[in-house]
Subunit: 209 residues, 2 copies
């Protein structure tokens, strides 16, 4: 998968605690049918072996849809599963360290909620940024909420793709159009919906309209 | 550190919940002064960033004493910290996968409690085995206890070094001498003792006598 060809429009982050489907694979496949353009797998509770096996199964799905699979935090799982990327927050391994151990081809995303974090991530070799939280969110209650002005400053300061995250849904997404943002990252607005496929399709149409 | 020169006699596994000292670094340094010959760092609760920073600090200590530092489970942390090895259980990444992502120089240890697990680990490129639990232990309450006969079978079946683990202390260690076992792995018999350095020294003298 060529890094520069990736469509960041609709970036799905999984959360097994919020899912409306019985398995993560089911949930992800419905979201892929609905048109999500990137998938991040986030698992904090299971063993490394279970995480790897899940990642391998989900990689099978994302590959069929030509969509990158990105692993949250665990560079070793990303490497072991042949995932396309790894996403790190400010409490995970530093971007520069991830690049050293993951090599030049692995996509690296970094969560940032401050201008200096964004600039440093780009300097350290990040391929994209997850910027937020844009709104308070039940998914990550400790996430700092940032202003629209800060988002615009970050957009001006870096040239790598930006996806916004935190409370993004059908109601809140439209206000971020026309700001040079590459995509929206969502958790509950897809995984927790009664019709996951329709939820994904609706968000994608809204964002791309 | 040349793999074949490693002294496995007294293998310390950390456990911050059991420590008698206020920090892991303090605890490990006392154990190093007492003569432990290998250190495994095991952290399940902290963030990846905290684990890395702790591993880098402990690597500074173990290097001064010429002792290998081995990271439990997290291959990415081992690579990022420049640790000497990684130790995986049956619920962690498979040994063969670890070898692929960690390269030929990284020490890989595998926990086994069955003959077939031991043989497979050696075939898959493990550098040593942690065999146990030899006794029921409060440190890992779900660990299966194995018989002395099984330990002897495993010793006959593989040629890589073996350390035994699970309830090993001053009282239980002597019965395993003369069986071709390379060392004893301990948690509470060192980290939970009022005098960590003396506890390590006592165990080392007992095992080497």
């Amino acid at each position: 998968m060529e890094k520069q060809n990736i469509d960041w429009s609709l970036y799905l982050c999984t959360d097994r605690r919020l899912m409306s489907s019985s398995t993560i694979e089911e949930n992800v496949e419905c979201a892929l049918k609905g048109g999500v353009t990137a998938v991040q797998l986030r698992e904090k509770e299971c063993s490394s072996r279970e995480f790897l096996e899940l990642a391998l199964r989900v990689k099978g799905l994302t590959s069929r849809y030509g969509v990158p699979l990105i692993i949250n935090d665990r560079v070793d799982i990303a490497l072991a599963a042949g995932a396309d990327g790894v996403h790190v927050g400010q409490d995970d391994l530093p971007c520069r360290t991830v690049r050293q151990i993951a090599g030049p081809d692995m996509l690296i995303g970094v969560s940032v909620s401050a201008l200096d974090e964004a600039i440093r991530a780009e300097q350290d070799g990040a391929d994209y940024l997850g910027v937020g939280a844009m709104f308070p969110t039940g998914t990550k209650t400790d996430a700092e909420v940032i202003t629209l002005d800060l988002l615009k400053e970050i957009r001006k300061a870096v040239s790598i793709p930006i996806v916004i995250i935190g409370g993004i849904n059908m109601n809140t997404a439209p206000q971020f159009k026309g700001l040079g943002i590459d995509g929206i990252a969502v958790v509950s607005a897809i995984v927790a919906q009664p019709d996951v496929e329709a939820a994904a399709r609706g968000l994608l149409e809204l964002w791309k309209a």
